[in-house]
């Protein structure tokens, strides 16, 4: 047994999401590497929700179309996912609700009746099903018990009793043997981003709820006490970013998180951050638009928005992590880079990146810590916008004795006082843009473009962000190189050119309808020879991408 894909589905409100995570942890505890894809509608109750839990001995970051095991909490689940079911797929279903499903691999259990007999609420049907699943997978009950004890602080005995009932009534369909490798932390991309921000020195997080970034707000609010964070949910995204800028002016490291619509509201203040040189880090979780679009699905449509958001010209740092390790590392690095250069950073995520569940192997994450930024040493007079060789002026925060600290949205002189003088205007614009030049040089020493797989083929896949997992998997299978720029601005031209060495045919794989990454590399003088674009809100599966790639290669 090297790999398995399992789907659990039911009505929204059934607790499918949490059940998916518990099942993931069950495999994680016995040494498997996990990826969970979550699919849910933009409604609270009703509608169909499912999670696909894929396990492997090796690192994975994509879900498959074909399912080996299905846990159906309602009859619709079997119907909706019919095309994913193979001849020998196993299943567990509630025989009280669903008619007999043929096939010796299918296990119909009267879950609803068990729940009634245990006097348990309907929501505990999940726990009962997970108990039955544990037995069906040949996993010891003790492992599930441990997880449930960690997951459920309240009603633990009740939950254990119901899980045990499911376990006892079930039978083994397959034996999932424990692996002799260490279990790894197992978390969503959003959690990895949140912890990365903390690692980079976060003091305060401001956000207005918006899918797919709200979980960062929820997570940080939950751990605020451990990290002495202020986590604040103000009246709008406009207030979010302006409060954060006020906070930063006063010397606290702050970040904000949102999605496209909220980011639209933030752009005026993003431009203020560019002018006033305030280091704000923004997490931009993409989802399909335009406008409200598909709120709970995924897209990669804000690349050019992020590159161009805000009026006027100012430097910015943009990064698009592709898995939990990169999410953690680059969130911390973004904080450091923002503060070092006093520029805004944007972490481009999306629903698949933020809400999918990944393993996080800290051994794979390059060590980094909160870095020191350029501080005022106390010599008088203080000038907030002191002209320097690299454009970076020393920072001071109120209250600072003998310093008057003035930041300004208007063009300003070195002291931060408004000016309309043509000479000073040019001087200050050059000062701000000079920082980009030094940032670009700095980034040459950081791995900004990842390349995976065989180097001898002349075809390569170009991907970014959450498509990393599926592209690396298919690249490996087809023996073609995968090139993933992680830093998108300033664009790492030199590193990208090196990664392309020997490539004659570059195929861009993206979740948008126009090929935004293809256009970006094109702007920098690189040709893209084909585009595989998917913009139905769903993630590429390896099967789907393989088929499309084969079509392009031939």
């Amino acid at each position: 047994m090297h790999e398995l894909s399992l789907l659990i589905g039911g009505k929204a409100g059934f607790g499918i999401d949490r059940s998916g995570e518990i099942i993931g942890r069950l495999f994680n505890k016995i040494g498997y590497r996990i990826y969970i894809y979550r699919d849910y509608p933009s409604i609270i109750r009703g509608g169909h929700t499912f999670s696909i839990i894929r396990i492997s001995e090796n690192w994975i970051a994509a879900h498959q179309d074909k399912i080996d095991f299905i846990v159906a909490l309602n009859p619709e689940t079997l119907e909706i996912h019919k095309s994913k079911i193979k001849k020998d797929s196993m299943c567990i279903y509630d025989s009280e609700q669903t008619g007999p499903v043929p096939g010796s691999y299918c296990l119909g259990l009267p879950l609803s009746r068990f729940i009634k007999e245990e006097n348990a609420p309907d929501i505990m049907r999940n726990t009962c099903a997970i108990g039955a699943l544990t037995k069906a997978l040949g996993i010891e009950f003790g492992i599930l018990k441990e997880i449930l004890e960690e997951e459920f602080r309240q009603n633990i005995d009740f939950n254990l009793k119901v899980a045990k009932r499911g376990y006892d009534e079930s039978r083994e369909l397959i034996k999932i043997d424990p692996l002799q490798q260490e279990s790894l932390p197992f978390l969503t991309g959003n959690q990895a981003i949140a912890l990365g921000l903390v690692k980079g020195g976060l003091n305060a997080y401001f956000a207005y709820p918006m899918t797919p970034s709200s979980p960062i707000l929820h997570y940080l609010a939950g751990v605020a006490n451990d990290f002495n964070l202020d986590v604040i949910h103000p009246e709008s995204e406009i207030s979010v970013i302006l409060m954060a800028l006020g906070c930063i002016f006063a010397g606290k490291k702050a970040a904000v998180g949102t999605s496209g619509g909220g980011f639209c509201l933030m752009t005026e203040a993003l431009s203020l951050a560019g002018m006033a040189e305030l280091p704000i880090v923004t997490v931009l979780g993409q989802r399909p638009g335009p406008s409200t679009g598909l709120p709970t699905y995924s897209a990669q449509t804000e690349l050019h928005f992020a590159l161009n958001a805000g009026h006027g010209e100012f430097p910015r740092f943009i990064v698009a992590p592709g898995d939990a390790e990169e999410a953690f590392y680059w969130s911390a690095a973004s904080m450091n880079i923002s503060w070092k250069y006093q520029i805004p950073s944007i972490i481009l995520s999306d629903k698949n990146m933020g809400e999918s569940v990944f393993n996080l192997d800290m051994n794979m994450v390059e060590d980094l810590s909160e870095e020191k930024f350029l501080s005022w040493t106390g010599e008088s007079p203080y000038k907030r916008y002191l002209l320097t060789e690299n454009g970076i002026s020393p920072l001071a925060f109120p209250p600072a004795q003998n310093a008057v600290i003035k930041v300004n949205s208007y063009e300003h002189d070195e002291n931060g006082i408004t000016t309309e003088d043509p000479g000073q205007t040019v001087q200050m614009q050059d000062k701000r843009m000079r920082k980009e030049k030094f940032l670009t040089q700095h980034l040459e020493n950081i791995k900004a473009v990842n390349a995976y797989g065989a180097g001898d083929k002349d075809t390569a896949i170009l991907c970014w962000g959450s498509n990393k997992g599926v592209c690396v998997e298919i690249g490996k299978k087809l023996g073609i190189r995968v090139i993933q720029p992680v830093i998108l601005n300033p664009f790492p031209v030199t590193q990208f050119k090196e990664a392309l060495s020997g490539v004659k045919k570059l195929i861009s794989v993206e979740n948008n309808s126009t090929g935004q990454m293809a256009a970006l590399v094109n702007n920098h003088g690189f040709d893209v020879h084909g585009k595989i674009l998917k913009y139905d809100g769903r993630a590429f599966s390896p099967e789907e991408l393989e088929e499309k790639m084969k079509g392009v290669i031939l």
Binding site: R25, N28, K29, E150, S183, L184, P185, F186, L187, Q191, L195, V198, K199, G201, N203, A204, V223, N225, D226, F227, N228, D230, P234, E235, S236, I238, S239, L242, M243, L245, G246, C247, F249, A250, G251, K252, A254, E268, A269, L272, A276, E370, P398, P399, A400, Q401, N402, A403, V404, I405, K406, V407, N408, S409, Y410, H412, N415, G416, I417, T418
Partner: protein, 283 residues
């Protein structure tokens, strides 16, 4: 920090006769007074929006954040969140705070953010050369309403009172000494304080004579009484010809947003072990 006259080298570009001079001189006097009473000036941060009013931060030699139109309030709140020892004073215009950024005032009042907002209410857009504003009277002939504005004005103090503001006052640029006293009281107030200053725009809406005739100082008014405050606030609706009361309408001690926030803060911060703990929980 220089303590003399708090002046900067920025050239003052307000029109001669502008009511903003009264606000500038009053706040400078109050800042000096604060300093004499033991608050170091470096503990003060001024925030402004965009408009004629906003130039005030260029003219005072102290920490400042010259922000964008309508957004002085959240910037001021953010500064106070970051450091509760700072005295944060926001300046905003009527178009600025009552128009584009009105939601921020409502929420700052609702959460009782510990900031002082001084509204330069000239009831006209000055810097954009004379359009009607949220507090212009019905029928106001401005450049965007040549036939007269077809919207009655809002009463910002009434809105602020119902939103939860804990200090509400009105001043007028005609009387500097009185303005100073109000500013001083507003700055000493713990919680959200707003001072609506009827500031004469000499160029686009010169109400000097009108205010001279209409204003009176509140006497024997119980500022601790919500109903009495509401009644007084409603006396003049920014349109009718009623007498215009100046002074403190409402004042109430209440827990501030920042105090509540502090209750959630911890002094522990070990990032490394915290992250390790958070990760190990997920295994």
């Amino acid at each position: 920090m220089k303590t003399q006259d708090l002046r900067t080298y920025a050239k003052n570009t307000w029109c001669p006769g502008c009511g903003n001079f009264a606000i500038l001189n009053s706040i400078k006097a109050v800042l000096k007074n604060l300093q004499e009473e033991g608050t170091p000036l470096e503990n003060v941060v001024l925030v402004s929006g965009i408009g004629c009013h906003a130039k005030i931060v260029d003219y005072i030699d102290t920490n400042s954040f010259y922000s964008i139109h309508g957004r002085a309030t959240p910037v001021a709140e953010g500064i106070k969140i970051a450091n509760q020892n700072l005295k944060v004073i926001g300046f905003a215009g009527d178009g600025d705070a009552y128009g584009e950024g009105i939601e921020h005032l409502i929420f700052a009042a609702k959460r009782n953010a510990d900031i002082t907002m001084i509204i330069h209410n000239n009831r006209v857009y000055g810097l954009t050369t004379g359009q009607y504003s949220p507090t212009s009277p019905l029928g106001f002939k401005g450049r965007s309403t040549p036939g007269g504005s077809i919207e009655p004005p809002m009463n910002p103090l009434e809105l602020m009172l119902t939103s939860g503001a804990t200090f509400l006052a009105r001043g007028c640029s005609n009387n500097i000494e009185f303005l100073q006293n109000i500013f001083k009281e507003a700055l000493n107030h713990k919680g959200f304080a707003l001072v609506d200053v009827l500031q004469v725009c000499f160029t686009f809406y010169n109400m000097y004579q009108y205010y001279e005739k209409k204003v009176y100082e509140l006497k024997e008014h119980n500022a601790g009484d919500y109903s009495e405050a509401l009644k007084k606030i409603r006396e003049w609706d920014y349109h009718n010809d009623s007498p215009i009361a100046l002074g403190v309408f409402y004042k109430k001690e209440s827990v501030t947003f920042e105090e509540r926030l502090s209750g959630y803060r911890s002094d522990k911060k070990d990032v490394e072990s915290g992250i390790k703990k958070a990760l190990s929980k997920t295994i």
